[in-house]
Symmetry: C2
Subunit: 653 residues, 2 copies
């Protein structure tokens, strides 16, 4: 007869609902180093026996566990604070057991208070101590000695009150817990915390095509970019991201404005990676040498700017992989390699990898080697192109493997795709993610979308990075709204998102020209040609960008997304939201006119006390954009906003 017994039926303690986590701990939660982490967990057992509960934690899975007590909060909830003191993949869990000594000690106080005869109780206690004293002998002889002494005293014929005092000794209890028999202890599932450096949560990105940084009409170089660094740094950016800088393929090269056939002097799309010069670990020769690149990287560093590279896992037909590893691609029956398609459209300049290849292991190994190579070159931030067209198991493996050796590496997911796909990529380890912000322009859209991504469970794993434009996306609002639309989208991105970025020159200079009506493609896009930017245009957003980025650096409230709250306004064209620092001292209220064509007035209703900030009835607010002060009274205020000055960014109190 098969009884279907569990292997151990005497594990009486139940551990449930370990927090923080989401999806029952299937993925790590994300935090920044030194973030306060409060662990709570439900722990209980049958009956009335007492439980000892500990938090176990470690900075990586190879270390032994450190333990600290979980403290009961009532109603079977226990808690402890965890100090995540360095970056890496932390682990924590709870362990607990029914402790018969602790139970016995607790009961003894009640029996003693009731004046009961305790003779047999002392025997019971001594019998509980004996095996623990024995256990402690080998490694902690002094503990074992102390326990053995107490045991003898309990078994002695000393007066009851003396033996009671011995039984209740604090050190005795400590040692009994320290050396407790954990055979029947219950341990929870292990929860992981992906602990990143602060830039994962707070970063300011500028995207630039290095080849457009040269003299007019000439192909720019890494050295040319060095000359741009002071201006970018002055504006307050701390990440400078380049589209791919690798050799560009020739076959089926696209011409200007994505023309199917390139002219001889067309420079091609940098996303068509690889030619006879090399592939993903090579440099496009017209940009310069590895030495030039390093000079640029070091110069940027001196300006407080980190370079971010584009990780676009695809090949041009001349990529060395195609000859060396045809097994990584799909073959067509005619023996040619399968190009990218979206039938009936063909993209013959691009060969995608086949993630179902039997040679997936060597493919994965090589793709990771590319990252490791650039990490060795000092690059710690990667913007990943179309990660949603590569197999999820690859990211799930690659990102943690890279971070094992280099935990400060960050990956930004460029996945403007379906919500569940984007969230899955974030769960698998991407440090930051592009968002739908690019297409969310009215009040309801913004409120709904940020209501979703700024709250659990999404904010446990998904760190938004807000882009008002990219080289691929010139949103209709920027095509039609003129300079005010750029102002609005800039202020929203910089204040709604602790991470934000822009495809720099085009945004800064208010380029709103599409290739054709109803297209999100730029006219004369830099994706296919060199571009001559008039860097010092009078309409440039440079002053506002500089102000906003300074405000972001000066205000902790804007350096994370957790406290974002929307507040009702009397006008659907006006959006109001606040963010505040965790200590409540820095409180920012943004009121913004979303209509680039008309001025609007609105009354904002808000209650700072609900945000943890208790203010007098009359309090001062200062618009950080204009520098003007006002005195507000109570819970509402009226604001007038023009298209030319669409927002006020108030520092409160």
């Amino acid at each position: 007869m098969d009884d279907h017994f569990p292997s151990e039926g005497r594990r009486r303690v139940v551990i449930e609902n370990l927090q923080p986590r989401f999806e029952d701990g299937a993925f790590p939660i994300k935090r920044i180093v030194h973030d306060p982490v409060t662990v709570t967990v439900d722990i209980f057992t049958d009956g009335h026996d007492h439980i000892v509960s500990l938090l176990r934690y470690r900075a990586d899975e190879k270390q032994p566990w450190t333990e600290k007590p979980l403290e009961p909060q009532g109603n079977d909830i226990w808690r402890a604070d965890l100090n995540i003191s360095k970056i890496g993949l932390w682990q924590f869990c709870a362990i607990a057991w029914v402790d018969h000594f602790v139970t016995w000690r607790y009961d003894l106080t009640k029996r003693a208070a009731a004046g009961q005869d305790l003779a047999i109780e002392f025997q019971i206690g001594a019998n509980l101590i004996a095996p623990i004293a024995e256990r402690a002998k080998a490694k902690h002889p002094e503990d074992a000695q102390f326990l053995a002494d107490q045991l003898l005293r309990l078994r002695s014929d000393r007066p009851q009150h003396e033996r009671t005092e011995i039984a209740l000794g604090g050190h005795l209890e400590q040692l009994m817990i320290k050396h407790a028999d954990r055979t029947l202890a219950t341990q929870s599932k292990v929860q992981e915390i992906l602990v990143d450096r602060p830039k994962a949560r707070f970063s300011t990105w500028y995207e630039l095509f290095p080849r457009s940084c040269g003299e007019p009409g000439k192909h720019g170089t890494f050295r040319d970019v060095i000359a741009k660094l002071p201006g970018i740094a002055e504006m307050g950016f701390d990440v400078l991201y380049f589209p791919p800088i690798h050799p560009i393929g020739d076959s089926f090269r696209k011409g200007k404005n994505n023309a199917p056939n390139a002219q001889p002097d067309d420079v091609g799309s940098p996303w068509a990676i690889g030619n006879h010069d090399g592939g993903h670990d090579g440099l496009h020769s017209q940009l310069g040498t590895l030495e030039d690149f390093q000079a640029l990287r070091i110069a940027a560093e001196k300006h407080g700017i980190e370079l971010a590279l584009d990780l676009a896992y695809q090949c041009a037909p001349e990529h060395p992989y195609v000859k060396e590893h045809p097994e990584w691609f799909k073959l067509r029956p005619d023996g040619t390699i399968q190009y990218a398609e979206n039938p009936p459209k063909k993209y013959q300049d691009i060969y995608p990898f086949d993630f179902e290849t039997p040679a997936w292991q060597s493919l994965w190994r090589e793709l990771k080697r590319v990252v490791d190579y650039w990490v060795a070159q000092g690059i710690k931030i990667f913007r990943v192109d179309n990660p949603h067209t590569k197999a999820f198991p690859f990211w799930e493996w690659m990102i943690p493997e890279v971070k094992k050796a280099a935990p400060d590496v960050l990956f930004l997911s460029e996945a403007f795709t379906r919500p569940r796909v984007r969230y899955r990529l974030a769960k698998l380890g991407f440090s930051q993610s592009y968002t739908y912000f690019t297409w969310r322009t009215n009040k309801a859209e913004l409120t709904d979308y940020f209501g979703e991504i700024a709250r659990p469970p999404v904010n446990q794993f998904f760190r938004p990075n807000l882009w008002p434009n990219t080289p691929d996306i010139l949103h209709a609002s920027l095509q039609h709204g003129g300079r005010p639309a750029f102002l609005i989208r800039l202020i929203l991105a910089a204040t709604l998102g602790a991470n934000y970025g822009m495809y720099g020159p085009a945004f800064e200079l208010c380029d709103g020209e599409p290739r054709e009506p109803n297209s999100e493609e730029y006219l004369d896009s830099e994706k296919y040609q060199l571009k001559n930017w008039t860097w010092d245009h009078a309409d440039s957003l440079r002053p506002l960008i500089t102000t906003l980025n300074r405000v972001r650096r000066e205000h902790a409230a804007l350096q994370h997304d957790e406290t974002l709250s929307f507040h009702p306004t009397s006008n659907d064209a006006v959006l109001a939201y606040s963010k505040h620092s965790h200590d409540g001292r820095d409180l920012i209220l943004v009121v913004i006119n979303l209509d680039p064509f008309h001025p609007h007035e609105a009354t904002v209703e808000w209650n700072p006390a609900l945000l943890g900030r208790h203010l007098p009835m009359d309090y001062e607010v200062r618009d950080l954009l204009s520098g003007a002060n006002q005195i507000w009274h109570g819970h509402s205020a009226t604001v007038v906003l023009s298209p030319e000055h669409p927002a006020q960014v108030f520092h409160v109190g």
Copy 2:
């Protein structure tokens, strides 16, 4: 070098968020046979390939899976309806794979529409069919033949439009899916559904001490209970639950009103189980023989009443287990067996089992044997005494094991303990659970508590059974509120809960006499003595009980708890709530005065349209207690309620 590769890196489909479930599927969800179950699940892959997704299900784990298609709902959500056609522990999961044939077929339509040359495409399609035709050969030769034929036609030199027609054939696609290679398919975790008979959700309990059913002053018998059956059936009860009916111990027997020392003629507590006559599978000799018990069970059945026994896993000192299996108990240093305690209180008439005994397997086996024994005697409902003082792993094992052989067995958990402990027991398999209803009397308490237990996740695993009183609990409101308090608590229990019960004679006859002030113990409790009930008292609640139970039988709205909604009233003493049948046709609105001392008037605000019921501006309501009709207008109605007629139970429209 260890690459830490997963065993298979090419499983490209992701399956998430299989519903319904709670706690990520750690426990079965509970349903009643024939309940509609709609399964939804998020399924997606990288890129643009097409997915085939199936729901797999079976009525128990030993059967092979049945499969049916999951249908895409957009936004990566898939769905299928599951027909749970019999009781048992069902299983379901989702399986899905990237299907290259389905993808190819979809792309082909677009290529054909664009007028492209498809020669190579037909080769690709044929290459996809070839291995599947080969796979099908052994078991489905006719399918294999069809596939082979289509393959040849695709490879032939027929005109492109003919080959396109062949490629798009519906039967070809069906067979390609039927025989698809699932090597790289993803399967979700398996979710279980504990499917019970309808009584698990809708039952009406009457608790009775058989020993009090005799002639005044004489110990009642099973035969005496038979005489009470017509009255209990007339009132509309369908479960008759007895406190333990086993032999009662002598040592340390408690006297009347829990006196520490029994008098020679004291009958003792039936929860002190076991003496020289036998234990948990024996019958107390004064109640009758097994034959008498069977006569009672069969007589009850004829009245539509099922007997429920009390499962109290504890022993009196004379229980046969104590001698035969001392290893199932804790020993004290003096060689005696450890009695129950709540220091400094001692309960020397009770020996608890030691669930940490090394002999736990033989203990578990015996405890289950007791249940199996009574199941063999025709008992299918057990009210489990203090399950929270027995180890959780035992219930987790025992309940499913019993139900494997007898899936119609139901267990009611008597655990008036901490919320997480009670919920854990429900998760482990208890069919119904006692609730805090017994102590929730005012409007806020009732609204909060039922707001919690009637909603997910709690209603996925916890089926409340509402008791206004038990032999252990005479709530203060019944001590002080007189007959109106009994009316109120009765109507609440019968209409808030699809399962409800009462400690019958005491409730029916409005016994509100506590042993002492501020005690919840009854004076002259039946737990310790025979009781002489005046069954036909003029104040008896019998008429109202009869009406309420008839209303419950006649109205589907009251036979489940899922649609419970509270509605605002203008008076804190008046509670209003509705329930409706799933088809919306049966709609009940209860308006009840919670104050047993004063009449109250209240205006109820409600909107039947929000409950799915669209009514004309003027509609009829009928009070099912008084039979009186009214015409209501719009979304509010004013009701006046006296303590003597504290509620109106309206059938609407």
